[in-house]
Point group: C2
Chain length 295, copies 2
Protein backbone atom coordinates (compact mmCIF):
# COMPACT_ATOMS: atom_id res chain seq x y z
CA UNK A 1 0.00 0.00 0.00
CA UNK A 2 1.22 3.48 -0.83
CA UNK A 3 2.48 5.37 2.23
CA UNK A 4 0.28 8.09 3.66
CA UNK A 5 3.15 10.52 3.06
CA UNK A 6 3.04 9.81 -0.68
CA UNK A 7 -0.56 11.05 -0.65
CA UNK A 8 0.83 14.60 -0.97
CA UNK A 9 1.72 13.81 -4.59
CA UNK A 10 -1.82 12.61 -5.30
CA UNK A 11 -3.23 15.70 -3.59
CA UNK A 12 -0.94 17.89 -5.68
CA UNK A 13 -2.08 16.47 -9.01
CA UNK A 14 -5.73 16.37 -7.94
CA UNK A 15 -5.59 20.03 -6.97
CA UNK A 16 -3.77 20.81 -10.22
CA UNK A 17 -6.55 19.20 -12.21
CA UNK A 18 -9.19 21.13 -10.26
CA UNK A 19 -7.36 24.40 -10.82
CA UNK A 20 -7.11 23.71 -14.54
CA UNK A 21 -10.91 23.48 -14.62
CA UNK A 22 -11.45 26.85 -12.96
CA UNK A 23 -11.56 30.00 -15.09
CA UNK A 24 -8.22 31.80 -14.85
CA UNK A 25 -8.16 35.04 -12.87
CA UNK A 26 -5.61 37.24 -14.64
CA UNK A 27 -5.41 39.62 -11.66
CA UNK A 28 -4.25 36.91 -9.26
CA UNK A 29 -0.53 36.39 -8.86
CA UNK A 30 0.34 32.71 -9.26
CA UNK A 31 3.26 31.08 -7.50
CA UNK A 32 4.30 27.61 -8.59
CA UNK A 33 4.22 25.62 -5.35
CA UNK A 34 5.21 22.30 -6.95
CA UNK A 35 8.49 22.16 -5.04
CA UNK A 36 6.60 22.43 -1.76
CA UNK A 37 6.07 18.66 -1.91
CA UNK A 38 9.76 18.09 -1.36
CA UNK A 39 11.37 17.92 2.07
CA UNK A 40 14.44 20.02 2.73
CA UNK A 41 17.61 18.02 1.94
CA UNK A 42 19.82 20.20 4.17
CA UNK A 43 23.57 20.53 3.83
CA UNK A 44 23.31 21.77 0.25
CA UNK A 45 24.40 25.18 -1.07
CA UNK A 46 22.58 26.80 -4.00
CA UNK A 47 24.30 29.21 -6.37
CA UNK A 48 22.60 30.86 -9.29
CA UNK A 49 24.51 31.38 -12.49
CA UNK A 50 23.82 32.01 -16.16
CA UNK A 51 24.48 29.37 -18.75
CA UNK A 52 24.46 30.77 -22.27
CA UNK A 53 22.07 33.53 -21.25
CA UNK A 54 19.62 31.31 -19.41
CA UNK A 55 19.16 30.96 -15.63
CA UNK A 56 20.84 27.98 -14.02
CA UNK A 57 21.65 26.87 -10.50
CA UNK A 58 24.39 24.84 -8.90
CA UNK A 59 23.22 22.64 -6.05
CA UNK A 60 26.37 21.77 -4.13
CA UNK A 61 26.05 19.18 -1.34
CA UNK A 62 28.63 19.52 1.42
CA UNK A 63 31.50 17.17 0.66
CA UNK A 64 30.35 16.38 -2.90
CA UNK A 65 32.88 15.37 -5.54
CA UNK A 66 33.36 18.68 -7.30
CA UNK A 67 34.23 17.16 -10.67
CA UNK A 68 31.14 14.91 -10.89
CA UNK A 69 28.00 16.65 -12.16
CA UNK A 70 24.33 15.75 -12.56
CA UNK A 71 22.97 17.81 -15.43
CA UNK A 72 19.40 18.21 -14.15
CA UNK A 73 16.61 19.03 -16.56
CA UNK A 74 13.29 19.85 -14.93
CA UNK A 75 9.88 18.94 -16.25
CA UNK A 76 6.55 20.75 -16.28
CA UNK A 77 5.09 19.88 -19.69
CA UNK A 78 7.17 22.62 -21.35
CA UNK A 79 4.74 25.16 -19.85
CA UNK A 80 5.79 25.26 -16.17
CA UNK A 81 8.48 24.16 -13.73
CA UNK A 82 11.78 25.89 -13.04
CA UNK A 83 15.12 25.63 -11.32
CA UNK A 84 13.19 26.69 -8.20
CA UNK A 85 10.37 24.15 -8.26
CA UNK A 86 12.93 21.36 -8.74
CA UNK A 87 15.70 22.72 -6.50
CA UNK A 88 15.12 20.33 -3.62
CA UNK A 89 14.31 17.26 -5.75
CA UNK A 90 17.59 17.40 -7.67
CA UNK A 91 19.47 18.42 -4.50
CA UNK A 92 18.25 15.22 -2.80
CA UNK A 93 19.65 13.20 -5.67
CA UNK A 94 22.93 15.15 -5.78
CA UNK A 95 23.36 14.65 -2.05
CA UNK A 96 22.67 10.92 -2.32
CA UNK A 97 25.13 10.60 -5.22
CA UNK A 98 27.77 12.87 -3.70
CA UNK A 99 28.03 15.05 -6.81
CA UNK A 100 27.12 18.59 -7.76
CA UNK A 101 23.89 19.18 -9.70
CA UNK A 102 23.59 21.81 -12.40
CA UNK A 103 19.92 22.71 -12.81
CA UNK A 104 19.27 24.28 -16.18
CA UNK A 105 16.47 26.12 -17.91
CA UNK A 106 15.32 26.01 -21.52
CA UNK A 107 13.03 28.28 -23.45
CA UNK A 108 9.55 26.83 -22.94
CA UNK A 109 8.74 27.09 -26.64
CA UNK A 110 8.00 24.61 -29.45
CA UNK A 111 10.66 22.24 -30.75
CA UNK A 112 13.62 22.68 -31.23
CA UNK A 113 14.39 25.48 -28.69
CA UNK A 114 14.12 23.30 -25.55
CA UNK A 115 16.42 20.71 -27.11
CA UNK A 116 18.87 23.31 -28.38
CA UNK A 117 19.12 24.92 -24.95
CA UNK A 118 19.70 21.58 -23.23
CA UNK A 119 22.43 20.63 -25.68
CA UNK A 120 23.97 24.07 -25.14
CA UNK A 121 23.99 23.49 -21.37
CA UNK A 122 25.67 20.10 -21.86
CA UNK A 123 28.26 21.61 -24.18
CA UNK A 124 28.83 24.42 -21.64
CA UNK A 125 29.61 21.81 -18.98
CA UNK A 126 32.15 20.15 -21.28
CA UNK A 127 33.64 23.58 -22.00
CA UNK A 128 34.08 24.07 -18.25
CA UNK A 129 36.38 21.06 -18.31
CA UNK A 130 33.96 18.56 -16.81
CA UNK A 131 34.71 15.20 -18.41
CA UNK A 132 31.76 13.50 -20.16
CA UNK A 133 32.35 10.28 -18.20
CA UNK A 134 31.82 12.34 -15.04
CA UNK A 135 28.44 13.71 -16.13
CA UNK A 136 25.08 12.01 -15.63
CA UNK A 137 21.83 13.47 -16.89
CA UNK A 138 18.65 13.41 -14.91
CA UNK A 139 15.27 14.64 -16.06
CA UNK A 140 11.66 14.27 -15.09
CA UNK A 141 8.70 14.18 -17.45
CA UNK A 142 9.38 16.64 -20.31
CA UNK A 143 12.89 17.02 -18.88
CA UNK A 144 13.29 13.25 -19.16
CA UNK A 145 12.57 13.43 -22.88
CA UNK A 146 15.11 16.26 -23.19
CA UNK A 147 17.73 14.25 -21.29
CA UNK A 148 17.46 11.55 -23.95
CA UNK A 149 17.12 13.74 -27.02
CA UNK A 150 20.03 15.96 -25.95
CA UNK A 151 22.27 12.87 -25.91
CA UNK A 152 20.92 11.79 -29.32
CA UNK A 153 21.66 15.26 -30.64
CA UNK A 154 25.12 15.27 -28.99
CA UNK A 155 25.85 12.00 -30.80
CA UNK A 156 24.77 13.60 -34.12
CA UNK A 157 27.05 16.56 -33.42
CA UNK A 158 29.99 14.29 -32.72
CA UNK A 159 30.14 15.26 -29.04
CA UNK A 160 31.02 12.61 -26.46
CA UNK A 161 27.96 11.41 -24.55
CA UNK A 162 27.58 11.42 -20.79
CA UNK A 163 28.08 8.48 -18.42
CA UNK A 164 24.45 7.77 -17.58
CA UNK A 165 20.87 8.99 -17.85
CA UNK A 166 18.31 8.87 -15.03
CA UNK A 167 14.71 9.26 -16.10
CA UNK A 168 11.84 10.15 -13.77
CA UNK A 169 8.46 9.46 -15.42
CA UNK A 170 9.90 10.45 -18.79
CA UNK A 171 7.59 11.83 -21.46
CA UNK A 172 8.98 10.32 -24.65
CA UNK A 173 6.04 9.69 -26.99
CA UNK A 174 4.34 12.74 -28.49
CA UNK A 175 1.81 10.56 -30.30
CA UNK A 176 0.09 10.22 -26.91
CA UNK A 177 -0.98 6.79 -28.13
CA UNK A 178 0.05 4.47 -25.32
CA UNK A 179 -2.73 2.26 -23.99
CA UNK A 180 -1.99 3.21 -20.37
CA UNK A 181 -3.69 6.55 -21.03
CA UNK A 182 -6.85 4.43 -21.05
CA UNK A 183 -5.98 1.72 -18.53
CA UNK A 184 -4.68 4.19 -15.91
CA UNK A 185 -7.18 6.93 -16.61
CA UNK A 186 -8.98 6.20 -13.34
CA UNK A 187 -5.87 6.22 -11.16
CA UNK A 188 -4.10 9.29 -12.62
CA UNK A 189 -5.90 12.47 -11.56
CA UNK A 190 -4.02 14.88 -13.84
CA UNK A 191 -2.42 13.38 -16.96
CA UNK A 192 -5.57 12.69 -18.93
CA UNK A 193 -5.04 11.91 -22.60
CA UNK A 194 -6.53 15.21 -23.76
CA UNK A 195 -4.33 17.20 -21.34
CA UNK A 196 -1.16 15.51 -22.59
CA UNK A 197 -2.34 15.86 -26.20
CA UNK A 198 -2.77 19.61 -25.63
CA UNK A 199 0.78 19.86 -24.25
CA UNK A 200 2.16 17.75 -27.11
CA UNK A 201 0.47 19.92 -29.76
CA UNK A 202 1.89 23.04 -28.14
CA UNK A 203 5.40 21.57 -28.15
CA UNK A 204 5.20 20.03 -31.64
CA UNK A 205 3.70 23.03 -33.38
CA UNK A 206 3.25 20.93 -36.50
CA UNK A 207 6.34 18.71 -36.21
CA UNK A 208 5.74 14.98 -36.83
CA UNK A 209 5.14 13.40 -33.39
CA UNK A 210 7.28 10.42 -34.44
CA UNK A 211 10.30 12.61 -35.20
CA UNK A 212 13.02 11.01 -33.02
CA UNK A 213 14.25 14.30 -31.58
CA UNK A 214 10.80 15.09 -30.17
CA UNK A 215 9.80 11.49 -29.32
CA UNK A 216 12.93 9.54 -28.40
CA UNK A 217 10.79 6.41 -28.15
CA UNK A 218 11.04 6.30 -31.97
CA UNK A 219 14.77 7.02 -32.08
CA UNK A 220 17.65 4.68 -32.79
CA UNK A 221 18.94 4.40 -29.24
CA UNK A 222 22.06 2.37 -30.07
CA UNK A 223 25.16 3.63 -28.35
CA UNK A 224 23.30 5.66 -25.74
CA UNK A 225 24.74 5.72 -22.20
CA UNK A 226 23.20 3.47 -19.53
CA UNK A 227 19.61 4.42 -18.72
CA UNK A 228 17.58 3.99 -15.54
CA UNK A 229 13.83 4.59 -15.96
CA UNK A 230 11.60 5.08 -12.90
CA UNK A 231 7.83 5.37 -13.32
CA UNK A 232 4.76 5.30 -11.11
CA UNK A 233 2.45 2.32 -11.50
CA UNK A 234 -0.67 4.48 -11.31
CA UNK A 235 0.31 7.12 -13.85
CA UNK A 236 -0.85 7.28 -17.45
CA UNK A 237 2.77 7.69 -18.63
CA UNK A 238 3.84 4.32 -17.21
CA UNK A 239 3.26 2.62 -20.58
CA UNK A 240 5.70 4.75 -22.55
CA UNK A 241 8.28 4.51 -19.77
CA UNK A 242 8.16 0.72 -19.90
CA UNK A 243 8.20 0.75 -23.69
CA UNK A 244 11.20 3.08 -23.71
CA UNK A 245 13.11 0.72 -21.44
CA UNK A 246 12.30 -2.22 -23.73
CA UNK A 247 13.36 -0.27 -26.82
CA UNK A 248 16.61 0.79 -25.16
CA UNK A 249 17.36 -2.76 -24.04
CA UNK A 250 16.76 -4.10 -27.55
CA UNK A 251 19.13 -1.44 -28.88
CA UNK A 252 21.84 -2.83 -26.62
CA UNK A 253 21.67 -0.01 -24.07
CA UNK A 254 22.48 -0.95 -20.46
CA UNK A 255 18.94 -0.42 -19.13
CA UNK A 256 17.29 -0.50 -15.75
CA UNK A 257 13.53 -0.11 -15.20
CA UNK A 258 11.54 0.18 -12.03
CA UNK A 259 7.81 0.66 -11.79
CA UNK A 260 6.80 1.87 -8.32
CA UNK A 261 3.37 0.43 -7.52
CA UNK A 262 0.52 2.84 -6.74
CA UNK A 263 2.73 5.88 -7.34
CA UNK A 264 1.96 8.80 -9.63
CA UNK A 265 3.85 10.98 -12.07
CA UNK A 266 7.16 12.30 -10.67
CA UNK A 267 6.37 10.97 -7.19
CA UNK A 268 10.07 11.49 -6.38
CA UNK A 269 9.06 15.11 -5.71
CA UNK A 270 8.05 13.91 -2.21
CA UNK A 271 11.69 13.09 -1.41
CA UNK A 272 12.55 13.78 2.21
CA UNK A 273 8.99 12.94 3.10
CA UNK A 274 7.51 9.82 1.47
CA UNK A 275 9.45 6.55 1.86
CA UNK A 276 8.78 5.52 -1.77
CA UNK A 277 10.40 8.73 -2.99
CA UNK A 278 13.43 8.33 -0.74
CA UNK A 279 13.74 4.72 -1.90
CA UNK A 280 13.62 5.82 -5.55
CA UNK A 281 16.33 8.45 -4.99
CA UNK A 282 18.52 5.94 -3.14
CA UNK A 283 18.17 3.48 -6.04
CA UNK A 284 19.18 6.09 -8.60
CA UNK A 285 22.20 6.99 -6.47
CA UNK A 286 23.33 3.38 -5.97
CA UNK A 287 22.97 2.78 -9.71
CA UNK A 288 24.74 5.90 -10.94
CA UNK A 289 27.65 6.14 -8.49
CA UNK A 290 29.78 3.38 -10.05
CA UNK A 291 28.90 4.69 -13.52
CA UNK A 292 30.40 8.03 -12.49
CA UNK A 293 33.44 6.29 -11.08
CA UNK A 294 32.41 6.97 -7.48
CA UNK A 295 33.05 4.17 -5.04
Amino acid sequence: MASKESQVVRDHWTRGAEEAQRPADPTEKKIDHWGDLTGEPGGVDYLEIEVAGLPAMWAVPKGAAHDRVLLSVHGGGNVSGSIYTHRKLFAHLAKAVGARALLTEYRQRPHPEPLDDTVTAYRWLLDQGVRPEHIALVGDSFGGGLSLTSMLRARELGLPTAAAIMLISPWVDMTVGNQTFETNDATDPFFKKQTVQWLADKFLNGVDPKEPLVSPLYADLRGLPPVFVQVGGDETLVGEGVELAETARKAGVDTQLEVFPEQLHTFQMAAGYAPESDDAIAKFAAWVRPRLGLA
Copy 2:
Protein backbone atom coordinates in the same frame (compact mmCIF):
# COMPACT_ATOMS: atom_id res chain seq x y z
CA MET B 1 -10.00 44.45 2.10
CA ALA B 2 -7.26 41.86 2.47
CA SER B 3 -6.00 40.56 -0.88
CA LYS B 4 -7.05 37.09 -1.94
CA GLU B 5 -3.37 36.16 -2.10
CA SER B 6 -2.97 36.95 1.62
CA GLN B 7 -5.60 34.27 2.31
CA VAL B 8 -2.78 31.69 2.13
CA VAL B 9 -1.57 32.95 5.51
CA ARG B 10 -5.03 32.56 7.03
CA ASP B 11 -5.31 29.07 5.51
CA HIS B 12 -1.91 28.19 6.94
CA TRP B 13 -2.81 29.13 10.51
CA THR B 14 -6.28 27.61 10.26
CA ARG B 15 -4.78 24.32 9.10
CA GLY B 16 -2.16 24.56 11.83
CA ALA B 17 -4.88 24.91 14.46
CA GLU B 18 -6.77 21.94 13.03
CA GLU B 19 -3.64 19.80 13.01
CA ALA B 20 -2.92 20.72 16.63
CA GLN B 21 -6.34 19.31 17.53
CA ARG B 22 -5.72 15.96 15.86
CA PRO B 23 -3.99 13.20 17.84
CA ALA B 24 -0.32 13.01 16.81
CA ASP B 25 0.70 10.04 14.67
CA PRO B 26 4.25 9.23 15.77
CA THR B 27 4.84 7.04 12.69
CA GLU B 28 4.19 9.85 10.22
CA LYS B 29 7.15 11.88 9.07
CA LYS B 30 6.40 15.58 9.43
CA ILE B 31 7.89 18.21 7.17
CA ASP B 32 7.50 21.83 8.17
CA HIS B 33 5.90 23.40 5.12
CA TRP B 34 5.67 26.90 6.63
CA GLY B 35 8.09 28.35 4.09
CA ASP B 36 5.84 27.15 1.26
CA LEU B 37 3.78 30.31 1.72
CA THR B 38 6.65 32.39 0.43
CA GLY B 39 7.26 33.08 -3.27
CA GLU B 40 10.73 32.47 -4.66
CA PRO B 41 12.80 35.67 -4.46
CA GLY B 42 15.22 34.56 -7.21
CA GLY B 43 18.70 35.90 -7.69
CA VAL B 44 19.78 34.85 -4.21
CA ASP B 45 22.49 32.31 -3.32
CA TYR B 46 22.22 30.20 -0.17
CA LEU B 47 25.26 28.90 1.66
CA GLU B 48 25.11 26.81 4.79
CA ILE B 49 27.70 27.33 7.48
CA GLU B 50 28.13 26.62 11.16
CA VAL B 51 28.14 29.41 13.70
CA ALA B 52 29.48 28.31 17.06
CA GLY B 53 28.36 24.74 16.43
CA LEU B 54 24.84 25.58 15.28
CA PRO B 55 23.49 25.52 11.70
CA ALA B 56 23.33 28.85 9.92
CA MET B 57 22.82 30.05 6.38
CA TRP B 58 24.00 32.98 4.34
CA ALA B 59 21.42 34.32 1.91
CA VAL B 60 23.39 36.37 -0.59
CA PRO B 61 21.40 38.43 -3.11
CA LYS B 62 23.23 39.12 -6.37
CA GLY B 63 24.89 42.51 -6.12
CA ALA B 64 24.28 42.89 -2.36
CA ALA B 65 26.63 45.02 -0.28
CA HIS B 66 28.87 42.32 1.17
CA ASP B 67 29.68 44.23 4.36
CA ARG B 68 26.05 44.92 5.33
CA VAL B 69 24.32 42.07 7.17
CA LEU B 70 20.80 41.31 8.38
CA LEU B 71 21.11 39.00 11.37
CA SER B 72 17.89 37.05 10.87
CA VAL B 73 16.31 35.21 13.77
CA HIS B 74 13.40 32.97 12.84
CA GLY B 75 10.30 32.37 14.90
CA GLY B 76 8.16 29.31 15.53
CA GLY B 77 7.24 29.63 19.22
CA ASN B 78 10.59 28.14 20.26
CA VAL B 79 9.25 24.73 19.19
CA SER B 80 9.42 24.92 15.37
CA GLY B 81 10.79 26.94 12.46
CA SER B 82 14.29 26.78 11.01
CA ILE B 83 16.74 28.39 8.62
CA TYR B 84 14.84 26.45 5.93
CA THR B 85 11.28 27.52 6.73
CA HIS B 86 12.42 31.16 6.79
CA ARG B 87 14.95 31.02 3.94
CA LYS B 88 12.80 32.79 1.38
CA LEU B 89 11.23 35.30 3.79
CA PHE B 90 14.57 36.68 4.95
CA ALA B 91 15.98 36.43 1.40
CA HIS B 92 13.18 38.70 0.18
CA LEU B 93 14.14 41.27 2.79
CA ALA B 94 17.87 40.93 2.09
CA LYS B 95 17.23 41.39 -1.62
CA ALA B 96 15.08 44.46 -1.01
CA VAL B 97 17.71 45.95 1.31
CA GLY B 98 20.67 44.99 -0.85
CA ALA B 99 22.51 43.27 2.01
CA ARG B 100 23.45 39.73 2.95
CA ALA B 101 21.30 37.91 5.51
CA LEU B 102 22.74 35.53 8.07
CA LEU B 103 19.99 33.16 9.22
CA THR B 104 20.82 31.63 12.55
CA GLU B 105 19.53 28.83 14.74
CA TYR B 106 19.25 28.61 18.51
CA ARG B 107 18.63 25.67 20.77
CA GLN B 108 14.84 25.45 21.11
CA ARG B 109 15.03 25.04 24.87
CA PRO B 110 13.91 27.09 27.89
CA HIS B 111 15.50 30.43 28.71
CA PRO B 112 18.39 31.32 28.52
CA GLU B 113 19.73 29.02 25.75
CA PRO B 114 17.88 30.73 22.84
CA LEU B 115 19.11 34.12 24.02
CA ASP B 116 22.66 32.90 24.60
CA ASP B 117 22.84 31.40 21.11
CA THR B 118 21.54 34.57 19.48
CA VAL B 119 24.05 36.72 21.35
CA THR B 120 26.77 34.26 20.30
CA ALA B 121 25.73 34.62 16.66
CA TYR B 122 25.83 38.42 16.95
CA ARG B 123 29.25 38.28 18.58
CA TRP B 124 30.42 35.88 15.85
CA LEU B 125 29.40 38.45 13.21
CA LEU B 126 31.41 41.13 15.01
CA ASP B 127 34.35 38.73 15.21
CA GLN B 128 34.16 38.30 11.42
CA GLY B 129 34.89 42.00 11.14
CA VAL B 130 31.36 43.14 10.33
CA ARG B 131 30.90 46.56 11.91
CA PRO B 132 27.97 46.91 14.33
CA GLU B 133 26.67 49.96 12.46
CA HIS B 134 26.43 47.73 9.38
CA ILE B 135 24.28 45.09 11.10
CA ALA B 136 20.50 45.15 11.40
CA LEU B 137 18.56 42.50 13.27
CA VAL B 138 15.31 41.08 12.00
CA GLY B 139 13.13 38.57 13.78
CA ASP B 140 9.61 37.29 13.63
CA SER B 141 7.46 36.21 16.56
CA PHE B 142 9.74 34.43 19.09
CA GLY B 143 12.67 35.53 16.92
CA GLY B 144 11.46 39.11 17.30
CA GLY B 145 11.70 38.82 21.06
CA LEU B 146 15.20 37.38 20.70
CA SER B 147 16.24 40.23 18.38
CA LEU B 148 15.39 42.67 21.17
CA THR B 149 16.70 40.70 24.13
CA SER B 150 19.98 39.90 22.36
CA MET B 151 20.61 43.65 22.01
CA LEU B 152 19.67 44.20 25.67
CA ARG B 153 22.11 41.46 26.62
CA ALA B 154 24.79 42.85 24.27
CA ARG B 155 24.40 46.20 26.06
CA GLU B 156 24.85 44.45 29.44
CA LEU B 157 27.99 42.74 28.13
CA GLY B 158 29.43 46.02 26.93
CA LEU B 159 29.20 45.03 23.26
CA PRO B 160 28.28 47.67 20.69
CA THR B 161 24.67 47.36 19.54
CA ALA B 162 23.53 47.00 15.94
CA ALA B 163 22.21 49.78 13.69
CA ALA B 164 18.53 48.79 13.67
CA ILE B 165 15.98 46.16 14.64
CA MET B 166 13.09 45.04 12.43
CA LEU B 167 10.33 43.17 14.22
CA ILE B 168 7.70 41.02 12.52
CA SER B 169 4.78 40.27 14.88
CA PRO B 170 7.20 40.15 17.81
CA TRP B 171 6.33 38.05 20.84
CA VAL B 172 7.59 40.16 23.73
CA ASP B 173 5.24 39.58 26.67
CA MET B 174 5.39 36.15 28.33
CA THR B 175 2.62 37.14 30.77
CA VAL B 176 0.23 36.54 27.84
CA GLY B 177 -1.92 39.23 29.43
CA ASN B 178 -2.62 41.61 26.58
CA GLN B 179 -6.29 42.34 26.01
CA THR B 180 -6.00 41.65 22.26
CA PHE B 181 -5.93 37.93 23.10
CA GLU B 182 -9.59 38.48 23.89
CA THR B 183 -10.53 41.18 21.39
CA ASN B 184 -8.90 39.39 18.43
CA ASP B 185 -9.77 35.87 19.51
CA ALA B 186 -12.36 35.61 16.74
CA THR B 187 -10.09 36.82 13.94
CA ASP B 188 -6.90 34.89 14.82
CA PRO B 189 -7.32 31.20 14.02
CA PHE B 190 -4.17 29.95 15.72
CA PHE B 191 -2.73 32.13 18.50
CA LYS B 192 -5.37 31.49 21.14
CA LYS B 193 -4.46 32.59 24.65
CA GLN B 194 -4.09 29.02 25.92
CA THR B 195 -1.83 28.08 23.00
CA VAL B 196 0.48 31.02 23.62
CA GLN B 197 0.38 30.35 27.37
CA TRP B 198 1.50 26.77 26.71
CA LEU B 199 4.42 28.01 24.60
CA ALA B 200 5.32 30.64 27.20
CA ASP B 201 5.35 28.08 30.05
CA LYS B 202 7.60 25.81 27.99
CA PHE B 203 10.04 28.65 27.35
CA LEU B 204 9.94 30.12 30.86
CA ASN B 205 10.29 26.84 32.73
CA GLY B 206 9.66 28.70 35.97
CA VAL B 207 11.36 32.01 35.15
CA ASP B 208 9.35 35.14 36.07
CA PRO B 209 7.42 36.13 32.92
CA LYS B 210 8.23 39.80 33.64
CA GLU B 211 11.99 39.17 33.62
CA PRO B 212 13.22 41.68 30.99
CA LEU B 213 15.41 39.16 29.15
CA VAL B 214 12.42 36.90 28.47
CA SER B 215 9.81 39.67 28.04
CA PRO B 216 11.51 42.73 26.57
CA LEU B 217 8.24 44.63 26.95
CA TYR B 218 9.23 45.00 30.62
CA ALA B 219 12.84 45.97 29.92
CA ASP B 220 14.49 49.34 30.11
CA LEU B 221 14.75 50.00 26.39
CA ARG B 222 16.78 53.22 26.64
CA GLY B 223 19.67 53.34 24.23
CA LEU B 224 18.37 50.58 21.96
CA PRO B 225 18.90 50.98 18.21
CA PRO B 226 16.00 52.22 16.05
CA VAL B 227 13.10 49.77 15.98
CA PHE B 228 10.45 49.14 13.32
CA VAL B 229 7.51 47.00 14.50
CA GLN B 230 5.12 45.45 11.97
CA VAL B 231 2.04 43.59 13.17
CA GLY B 232 -1.16 42.23 11.67
CA GLY B 233 -4.39 43.94 12.70
CA ASP B 234 -6.25 40.63 13.06
CA GLU B 235 -3.69 38.81 15.20
CA THR B 236 -3.87 38.32 18.95
CA LEU B 237 -0.27 39.57 19.31
CA VAL B 238 -1.09 42.99 17.87
CA GLY B 239 -1.59 44.44 21.36
CA GLU B 240 1.87 43.66 22.66
CA GLY B 241 3.43 44.86 19.41
CA VAL B 242 1.71 48.23 19.76
CA GLU B 243 2.59 48.39 23.46
CA LEU B 244 6.22 47.59 22.71
CA ALA B 245 6.39 50.43 20.19
CA GLU B 246 4.89 52.84 22.78
CA THR B 247 7.33 51.68 25.45
CA ALA B 248 10.28 52.06 23.08
CA ARG B 249 9.17 55.53 22.02
CA LYS B 250 8.79 56.63 25.64
CA ALA B 251 12.32 55.31 26.29
CA GLY B 252 13.59 57.63 23.57
CA VAL B 253 14.15 54.91 20.99
CA ASP B 254 13.67 55.94 17.34
CA THR B 255 10.52 53.87 16.77
CA GLN B 256 8.30 53.07 13.82
CA LEU B 257 5.08 51.07 14.08
CA GLU B 258 2.77 49.80 11.38
CA VAL B 259 -0.35 47.75 11.92
CA PHE B 260 -1.45 46.06 8.69
CA PRO B 261 -5.26 45.85 8.70
CA GLU B 262 -6.88 42.41 8.44
CA GLN B 263 -3.50 40.66 8.40
CA LEU B 264 -2.44 37.79 10.64
CA HIS B 265 0.69 36.76 12.51
CA THR B 266 3.87 36.92 10.36
CA PHE B 267 1.85 37.64 7.21
CA GLN B 268 5.15 38.71 5.60
CA MET B 269 5.67 34.98 4.97
CA ALA B 270 3.53 35.47 1.83
CA ALA B 271 6.20 37.73 0.31
CA GLY B 272 6.47 37.31 -3.43
CA TYR B 273 2.79 36.48 -3.51
CA ALA B 274 0.51 38.74 -1.43
CA PRO B 275 0.73 42.50 -2.06
CA GLU B 276 0.47 43.32 1.67
CA SER B 277 3.52 41.18 2.36
CA ASP B 278 5.53 42.74 -0.45
CA ASP B 279 4.50 46.18 0.79
CA ALA B 280 5.64 45.31 4.32
CA ILE B 281 9.03 44.08 3.06
CA ALA B 282 9.48 47.21 0.92
CA LYS B 283 8.72 49.41 3.95
CA PHE B 284 11.28 47.60 6.10
CA ALA B 285 13.86 48.00 3.33
CA ALA B 286 13.19 51.72 2.79
CA TRP B 287 13.41 52.28 6.55
CA VAL B 288 16.56 50.28 7.20
CA ARG B 289 18.70 51.21 4.18
CA PRO B 290 19.69 54.69 5.40
CA ARG B 291 20.24 53.30 8.90
CA LEU B 292 22.78 50.88 7.41
CA GLY B 293 24.39 53.70 5.48
CA LEU B 294 23.02 52.47 2.15
CA ALA B 295 21.85 55.17 -0.24
